[in-house]
Symmetry: C2
Subunit: 303 residues, 2 copies
């Protein structure tokens, strides 16, 4: 379970040692064997209709298409260097292959193999960070990528900037018989959809404290023991979902109306039916999301 | 154990709902009951020689001292608003109280009570982020704090920016009889000091994957099962230490010379003596660091 979430299982060796050598990187960017994955508005290029896969291009392809953004070094598989490259400026089809198309990243994750979905997660998070960090937050001047995109440096003030990963706690709270699920206002609220409570961690708190704060804020429920379950990278844009189970010390819900559309207790049988897609009203997230697996573990008594 | 690390146990209610009201915040910044903790170069103001505590000032104190930086809202205790404020521009002593002095933050954490050390962790991380994010990383223009410092907004391009917390995996790997400890080159390498292996998480990986990658990079050891132990906020400047134990699948060390000065296997008896400060050569981190507790749990057979 712990290692089977979508977006895990990335086969790339990120090349921590190799990427410190800028000359080596420049040579890899030009090498005929290197592979480049274009993204348009953070959506990856896919090939194949019936059995879709990532559409890796060559350095020659990029030249011909006029894609000249600095590529981000993802890492290596069997010695072959892999890069992601922003192609948002491209108009129309790529013309490399008829089956090529940019696929919405979340949809792509559900039709690609696990290892390829994990590559999309890494590449999308890295590209998003570079697209939003062209300038130095310390002094406002333009920054430059280094180490194949693992950092950016400001030539004006010397500040170093590193890609960010935002830890999010996501938790299924139980009172023993029932579990607490909510509808947040921020997301698409189709009738009947409920999920585990979740929120970004604040600065200066532990995972266990963040769980207690979030559940207190969103539902007004006091939480005792917190148990870590598993984690999942979530590249929208760059979160680390830290999945937990927790014990409720109180049961009276007092929800934050501004953030939550609804918060409710659900019994095990109701949740089991919803997981199987057989409940007439309740819908829960599918297996792409760690929430599904947290809810399932609770419903099976493994929480 | 899980909740007892230094920098946890913060008594402040961060006021997620209240801080969205800018008028309320302005009133709290002027209220006579509000308390302000000044920091100089990210070191907090302390009072008292024998029983040191945080030296909270009033809005009047700030006026008199000419401290005019925008305060960061930390939260409330029993309805009283608490703020942190950057006073790095101050010359000389504060003159409020003879025992007042700015204490190096890490040293302060070891002499303050747990709840006050946790407040320092939150305040230091927040102030550091603001000091390094005066400009928009998207467009390079000046940004403005909002929600009491929980975000910054760019008036030029409209981008929202949020404080960052950098997840770090820290792990004690064991082969059953021995545990793997290392000396990193980046830190102060006093002879004989060894600690758990640690590293920043990359984008697009799970906690378990980050543990395996870091141990592979730093020590060349292959890791099987990973078990979460506990977590600790670490405000230098703003990390979340995610503490784990893990099982080694191999034992031959192949360390990264550039990052690690040494990596070695240590047997349980050696580690127990070091934890008690009784080993002639080996030194391990003290209880301020989660590394101490991870090593101790392993030495006691609780890992």
């Amino acid at each position: 379970m712990n290692d089977s979430h979508i977006f895990t299982g990335n086969p790339l060796d990120r090349g921590e040692r190799e990427r410190r050598d800028e000359d080596w990187l420049r040579a890899q960017e030009k090498a005929g064997t290197s592979r480049f994955l274009p993204f348009k508005n953070l959506d990856p290029l896919l090939a194949g209709e019936t059995d879709p896969e990532l559409a890796w291009l060559t350095a020659d392809d990029l030249d011909r298409l006029g894609i000249d953004a600095t590529p981000v070094f993802l890492g290596r598989i069997d010695g072959t260097s892999h890069f992601a490259v922003d192609a948002s400026g491209l108009e129309g089809a790529l013309g490399v292959n008829e089956s090529h198309r940019f696929e919405e990243a979340r949809a792509a994750a559900t039709i690609l193999s696990h290892p390829e979905a994990a590559i999309v997660a890494q590449a999308r998070a890295q590209l998003d960070w570079h697209l939003r960090h062209g300038f130095c937050s310390v002094c406002g001047q333009p920054t430059e990528p280094l180490r194949g995109g693992q950092m950016r440096k400001c030539p004006a003030c010397g500040a170093s900037h590193f890609p960010r990963t935002d830890p999010v706690v996501i938790v299924v709270v139980s009172d023993g018989e029932r579990c607490l699920l909510g509808q947040s206002r921020g997301r698409l609220n189709r009738l009947g959809w409920y999920s585990a409570l979740a929120g970004f961690m604040d600065q200066g708190e532990s995972i266990e404290e963040a769980v207690r704060r979030e559940v207190g804020e969103e539902a007004g429920i006091e939480v005792g023991a917190v148990r870590y379950h598993s984690s999942q990278p979530w590249p929208f844009p760059s979160s680390l979902m830290i999945g937990c189970h927790a014990d409720a010390l109180t049961t009276a819900i007092n929800r934050d109306d501004e953030e939550m559309a609804d918060v409710r207790w659900f019994d095990r049988e109701t949740v089991r039916l919803a997981l199987a897609g057989q409940h007439p009203e309740l819908r829960v997230p599918g297996p792409i999301a760690i929430a599904h697996h947290l809810i399932k573990a609770w419903a099976l008594g493994d929480a």
